[in-house]
Amino acid sequence: MSKGVAKSTAEPMGASRWLLRGHSAAVFAFFYAPIIVLCVFSFNDSNAVGNWNGFTLDWYGDLFSNKNIKSSIWVSVKVCVFSTLIAVVLGTAAALALERFRWWGQKAFDAVLYLPIIIPDVTMAVMMLVFFSETASWFNWIPGLNLQDGLEKLVFSHVAFNISFVSVVVRARLANLDASMEEAASDLYASRWQTFRRVTLPQIMPGVIGGALMAVTISLDDVVVSSFVSAVGGTPLSVYVFGMLRKGVTPLVNSVSVVMLAASMAFVVASLLISRASGSESEER
């Protein structure tokens, strides 16, 4: 991938060298010091966040015995899984439609598709709130769908913004894919579905997985939209934690944050591993 990029081995000398090193150290401190502090204080044996009183695992025990936290984690996971699955399918389809076909209204659709990335979260949240309160009853005729229900509203609103992110990532991958490969597949007797299944999908898979991981993180992360559309008793973790802060910061918040941090890092590492696996494949070219 980095073929042909020569990296200089002549490092800067003298004062500029120390200046650059100091700068790097400052950047790292800025990034990671808060994380370290957070992790350390999640083991603090004190009710006040600020004072170190000795080591304890109690807060983690509280976390896993707290019924509200457990149910909000469960809400988050459900919303995240369903919204990601739906958004990946729809986002990939949108990317294919935009990248592989020419049709009336394409440019308009292209512009509208990326709106959720641009418009502020609060606007999106208000939109969702108004939309669901005005129109939820219209969809009651669909069996099994109840848009008055908090969970379903959460899933649909997360799908609404995740489609954009998935399609951006998948489209980037698709743009680099030689379209004649799909022509070759159809020339070799593959139907459209077989072409997609056997040729297109395996090659855009890193993009699809990358988009999915992005959707997972954004869905777990979202506070603003979720707090507008979630119903009482069906709050996702992010919204619950935000609510806890209003009652005062206890180390319980810290431990919840560490768990969320660990989960996000697991996703980041997974996505890195996947992109590296597909990257080493392309380096053999």
């Binding site: 030689d178 004649s180 490969m181 022509e183 070759a184 597949a185 159809s186 020339d187 070799l188 007797y189 593959a190 139907s191 077989q194 056997r198 040729v199 395996p202 090659q203 494949e281 392309s282 053999e284 070219r285």
Partner: protein, 365 residues
């Protein structure tokens, strides 16, 4: 396999085929303009022309990757109509090879058979045959990204040929290879075509490639099929100025048709040359540089056509000498086998240029 049953019918018939592309501003481009063409079963046919002449679009319409705006395309007598590419008895070798990078060589070659649900044991046999045919036996388990350009080319060929298509379509398949490899692949392709006996339709902008490999060539320009003939006929008896100019070097002498077997050159000289153009129409007489001979003024044999002129430039090429000859109304180029310096004409010599009538052709356009 379809040897004898289809043998009598032409492999490909194009009748009045038109392809127009429209862009969003509403302007239409005619990429292929009323092409009629019959390609015989088992022949190596080349579509030759500069880039943008419509040759690739024509090929893609036969493959089904584009649908014609008008006209009919038949393969062994069967109308293709709106049939999608996966339902046509042809296979294509793409310019970019278009190998599937996530599959091994063997999986690439077996893809078409797999899609047609050929049983696994038979599939394996055929894949082995095709990979051996292109001499890639030792590479069957590699991925395309681990192969050189020439090797990828062979895999692309095997992937198409393994399906025993009724017609094999090749879209500038040697374009990405370096010169030496290209020459080698030209011979291999020609031999392969003889060996498998499948009709090849080959698209190229390289006139030398087309002349070397083809049984017949169709020259295209601006969406029109200008001339279809054997390589020799295309070179020796072009019918249009474009064809004469595109295939090799040539001289044009502006002329007017005087009768069924006579033209008048721009300087008033009359030449006995047959043409089927109306008297009075503006034409050109084309003669290849190597078909012209330079004589001392007045020493030319009387049974040859002659034009008087003066040597303007002499270029020594080792195996040949190129004379630039100024005739008072135009400029000619003559290519002679190299002679010793004493025998050569010098700049400023008054000379006569001659040629055999059968080496001249009347062209239009």
């Amino acid at each position: 396999m379809n040897e004898t049953t289809n043998g009598m019918r032409p492999a490909v018939e194009l009748a009045g085929v038109v392809k127009r592309f429209g862009d969003r501003s509403g302007t239409e481009v005619t990429a292929v303009d009323h092409v009629d063409l019959t390609i015989t079963d088992g022949e190596f046919f080349s579509l030759l022309g500069p880039s943008g002449c419509g040759k690739t679009t024509t090929l893609r319409m036969v493959a089904g990757l584009e649908l014609p705006t008008a006209g009919s395309i038949r393969i062994h007598g069967e109308e293709m109509g709106l049939r999608p590419p996966n339902k046509r008895p042809v296979n294509t070798v793409f310019q970019s090879y278009a190998l599937f990078p996530h599959m091994t060589v063997a999986a690439n070659v077996g893809f078409g058979l797999e899609m047609r649900k050929v049983p696994q044991s038979e599939r394996r046999e055929l894949v082995d045959w095709a990979i051996e045919l292109v001499e890639m036996g030792s590479m069957a388990h590699r991925k395309p990204t681990q192969l050189s350009g020439g090797q990828q080319q062979r895999v692309a060929l095997a992937r198409a040929l393994v399906n025993r298509p009724e017609v094999l379509l090749l879209d500038e398949p040697l374009g990405a290879l370096d010169l030496k490899l290209r020459h080698q692949m030209q011979h291999e392709l020609k031999n392969l075509q003889r060996e498998v006996g499948i009709t090849f339709v080959y698209v190229t902008h390289d006139q030398e490639e087309a002349v070397t490999m083809s049984d017949r060539i169709g020259v295209m320009h601006d969406g029109k099929l200008l001339q279809v003939d054997t390589p020799e006929a295309i070179y020796e008896r072009p019918t249009t100025r474009f064809v004469a100019d595109f295939i090799g070097q040539t001289n044009f002498l502006e002329a007017t048709v005087a009768g069924a077997d006579e033209v008048v050159l721009a300087n008033g000289d009359r030449l006995r040359l047959a043409s089927d153009h109306d008297a009075g129409s503006a034409v050109a007489v084309t003669v290849r540089p190597e078909r012209l001979t330079v004589h001392r003024r007045g020493e030319a044999p009387t049974d040859r056509h002659t034009v008087d002129g003066r040597v303007e430039t002499v270029t020594y090429l080792g195996n040949a000498v190129i004379y630039g000859i100024g005739v008072d109304w135009m400029h000619l180029e003559v290519r002679c086998p190299a002679t010793l310096a004493g025998d050569r004409r010098e700049v400023g010599d008054d000379i006569t240029v001659s040629f055999e009538p059968e080496h001249a052709a009347v062209v239009t356009g």
